[in-house]
């Protein structure tokens, strides 16, 4: 067993965990934060994307022990303090950027990382950045629109769904 201490969505947590415990298991099974989804468990789909020390990473391909001392942010920490949806989440709702919602936590976390480094991305930059996030429902156009809109840009030029 390994002792891990980290901050998750602003709260300090400390637990004894198995050496081979993945971050997805740590968040979902130990902390009951089930917003971080597991679509593939093989690093392909991006449903499990979280932020570790401000960087977007795939939680299914990282051990809990690797996050020792880190600041971790998950989808549960994204809403505004009053519980309302944040700008990116609201844009996903407004632009129909989700259908079943399975990919959405990873999409929102990935979009948040992109917009922090690149506040006004082009459509191509958005599509490139979503390389590691798979959506089986929307066909992506509305996700791209939502991210464009969340960055305060005009979305009328983006292909219809």
């Amino acid at each position: 067993m390994t002792k891990v201490t980290m901050t998750v969505n602003g709260k300090t947590v400390a637990k004894e965990v198995r050496g081979n415990m993945l971050m997805t298991e740590f968040l979902r099974d130990e902390l009951h934060l089930t917003g971080t989804h597991v679509g593939c468990d093989t690093s392909q789909c991006g449903a499990c994307v979280i932020h570790v020390n401000g960087q977007d990473v795939k939680a299914c391909t990282m051990f809990a022990g690797e996050a020792e001392g880190a600041e971790v942010a998950t989808i549960e920490g994204m809403a505004n303090a009053d519980g309302s949806l944040n700008t990116i989440q609201q844009a996903f709702q407004d632009y129909h950027g989700l259908q079943c919602g399975f990919c959405t936590p990873g999409m929102v976390m990935t979009a948040a990382a992109l917009l922090r480094d690149n506040p006004k991305p082009s459509e191509t930059e958005i599509r490139d950045y979503l390389e590691g996030n798979i959506c089986r429902c929307t066909g992506y156009h509305n996700i791209v629109k939502a991210i464009m809109a969340a960055s305060g840009q005009d979305v009328s030029a983006i292909a219809a769904e």
Binding site: G19, N20, T42, V49, Q55, K58, T61, F63, N133
Partner: protein
Amino acid sequence: MYSFDFERPTTLDDAVKALGQDEAQALGGGQTLIPSLKQRLAMPSKLVSLAAIEELKGVTAEGGVLTVGGGTTHGTVAAEASAYPALAALASNIGDPAVRNRGTVGGSLANNDPAACYPAAALASGATIVTNTREIAADDYFQGMFTTALDEGEIITAVKFPIPEKAAYIKFEQPASRFALVGVFVAKYSDGVKVAVTGASEEGVFRWTEAEEKLSADFSAGAVEGLSLPAEGMMSDLHGSGAYRAHLIGVLTKRAVAAAG
């Protein structure tokens, strides 16, 4: 996954000590190793994460050499290796953003996947692989797919890339994995041109010396026109036959030369 212990040393000395134990294995960014562990392809008694060792991280350019710490992520190389643009571009095209935020240069070179990008850059640049015990020339380092000159428990602390006059890396992506179906790195130095090919040979990354000779005499895409490699010894799988890969090497070499300008 099999069960194992997990350790996260903060100094190189402690990591070397931890790796001295039986069946201990180093963990870089884990973007290859963790999937392999899930498939039970490896059974370490202990994983020693190198991610907390600050002395293994960073990118510096000095005296015509770009030095990249072994624990530096692809994302950091993409952002900070501006002194060697072809290398920064290579790093920015590995996997996806989340993978680039974890995967490391040292991890990629230690694994020596036959379709990985960094081995081509190291070989074409005549890089030096620096470990906790010695310095290894790239030409001596790569010894066939998934095989390197590293000893048990040896850690890549840095990679020194001499900065070329011109260089470019072109990869033909396998569309699902984004690994190189074939990738060619061309680098021109004052004393000659080096061409390294990844993704193609059953022996892993290799230098295409015939192309190097032609390009050293005349650095233009036309110089390698008509030059080709045999299909024998090239990997064949559902993504492409050996003959197709051999053909791609010629095409990508020309594109790389053109892109290097």
